[in-house]
Amino acid sequence: MFRFIAGKVFQTLFVLFLVSVASFTLLKLAPGDPIEIALGNEYSEEAHQDMLAELGLDRPVVEQYVTWLADFVRGDWGTSYTARADIFTYAFVEALPVTLTLAVFALGLAILIGVPLGVLSAVKKDTLWDAGSAAFALTGTAFPSFFLGIVLIWVFGVKFAMFPVMGFVAPWEDFWGGLYHMVLPAFTLSTYFMAMIVRLTRANLVEALESPYIAAARARGEPGWRVVWVHGVRNILMPLVTIIGLQLGVLLQGAVLTETVFSLPGAGQMITNAVLNREYGIVQAGIMMTATLFVLVNLAVDLAYPILDPRLRPSR
């Protein structure tokens, strides 16, 4: 068991190391001379040398990498050239919470609606219900989310004017206001996930419901809802959690698009604007944040397996 955990943690650290090397290389490969960007077009040779030394660009690449990584881990992510603001504050304190709020709301919505829909179509297999939810699952996974967002804006923002179509209100400051502003973005982002969860729940549950332990649970007098939810759904949690974890990246990339559609000041908008403004330090920070988040969630999913399936626990 310890070996399993240690192995997983080591693997994760190695992946993070590779990602950091890649992010560092990104900055190195980025077109444009950072000195020129910092000093403008006209500068003296002396100022150039000073700047080189200040940025540590006169030292060997490996040393530069180590310094950069150490700074990064300590939260010293550099300064934005254009905004003259601290990148850590901008990316981690201001932008990331917006993205996470959006992602959490969307994921919650997807699970709360997707799982019951999937269960329903598994239980009512081969009925009109089932066909309907299959159609939803297919359309939902294929429909481009950014276009869905615009359609929702048009219907609920313009035609009926029911929900706000832009701006972010922090739910930890104003919960209901935050929720209200999150309705359309969260729904937009959650559709893909909801559809995927419906599909997955149905496929796995149909199989699980044919297991002998389901027949046995019915045979000892358990009511239908209990058989399905307590025995059926409990037994498919593992594939469900696995795929949700694996698809978290899709959630993050959907968040980038959703933020742009609804003008939310999140990490996605941050990265997009940084690319347009050639602020490679911010792009780098955004990539590191995204990758770290994703890798850590996957580690958590791996470590959660024994909780989800008793058969994977160490024997006593």
Partner: protein, 298 residues
């Protein structure tokens, strides 16, 4: 004990599986056939865009800016520059399909090389290669493509490279899994024992077994490539205006959604229909030809 052999009732007839499947795939899967026709329709409009399109896709009709659909001469209306939306959608199909195919080709090739290398190397090399694949997969394809765009800059060719490289990860993973599976099968070992050269074994036995599932993967991933490339354009960091790209058109239309909803709606519908059709086609092909999906499965 009275276990009688051959006691289980035999199935009525053993159907000639291969023949029957070939013949009736289109009949048994009406949605697949319909989706295939829709996708083919897009391919045709892309190929013959100059013939079908009533206008030059970048011609700006100053007299008819933001004309609603069904305006004379502009069947689907015009955008804020007075460009004909129908013409732009038809030409846009070229970009969508071209970028999608190009990117998938790069991704599949890169994935094939990386996955084969990982699967065949084994040991430490495999571990390191798979962690590289993991770190590619640690970033969702769009974010990865954004990073490459940051280095490469904008433009149609840049989008193809960026999306293609971003797709290497998933391809590499499936190729490696297939290599492992084939390698575990006896005939490869037997071929090795017969003294065939290593490269011959790879070329004759492993590659054919990997390329087939890879081809199935390609059909499934085309829609992802199209989605990611149009997302890049939607974010404003993909292809540059006035290229008639759907993502770009949707992005431009977003600002006008309250008074000219067709500006985003028309290209959006085109994109959505193409993606849904491609995903039905991909599902059909996967269920029909992927050996892993043959039993049960969604």
């Amino acid at each position: 004990m009275t276990l009688l052999d051959g006691a289980t009732p035999a199935p009525a007839t053993v159907p000639p599986v291969r023949r029957r499947r070939r013949l009736t795939m289109f009949v048994r899967r009406p949605f697949f056939t319909l989706a295939l026709l829709v996708a083919a329709g897009f391919v045709v409009s892309a190929a013959f865009a100059p013939v079908f399109a009533p206008w030059d896709p970048t011609y700006q009709d100053i007299g008819a800016m933001m004309a609603p659909p069904a305006t004379a001469g502009h069947l689907l209306g015009t955008d804020s520059y007075g460009q004909d939306i129908l013409s732009r959608i038809l030409f846009g199909a070229r970009y969508a399909l071209g970028i999608g195919l190009g990117a998938v080709a790069i991704g599949a090739l890169g994935g094939l090389v990386l996955g084969m290398a990982a699967g065949l190397a084994g040991g430490r090399t495999e571990w390191v290669l798979m962690r590289i694949v993991d770190s590619i997969l640690a970033l969702p394809s769009l974010i990865l493509a954004v990073a490459f765009i940051a280095i490469l800059g904008q433009g149609v060719d840049k989008v193809i490279y960026a999306v293609g490289v971003a797709l290497i990860g998933p391809f590499a993973r499936t190729v490696r899994a297939d290599v492992m599976q084939v390698r575990a099968q006896l005939f490869v070992e037997a071929a090795g024992l017969m003294g065939l050269a290593w490269l011959t074994v790879v070329w004759r036995h492993i590659l054919p077994n990997v390329v087939y599932p890879l081809a199935v993967q390609v059909t499934i991933r085309i829609s992802e490539a199209i989605l990611v490339s149009s997302s890049l354009s939607f974010l404003g960091i993909g292809v540059t205006p006035p290229t008639p790209d759907w993502g770009l058109m949707i992005s431009e239309g977003r600002a006008f959604v309250s008074f000219a909803p067709w500006m985003a709606g028309m290209p959006g519908a085109a994109l959505a229909i193409l993606l849904i059709a491609l995903s039905i086609v991909g599902d059909g092909i996967r269920e029909e030809f992927d050996p892993k999906m043959q039993r049960g499965g969604s």
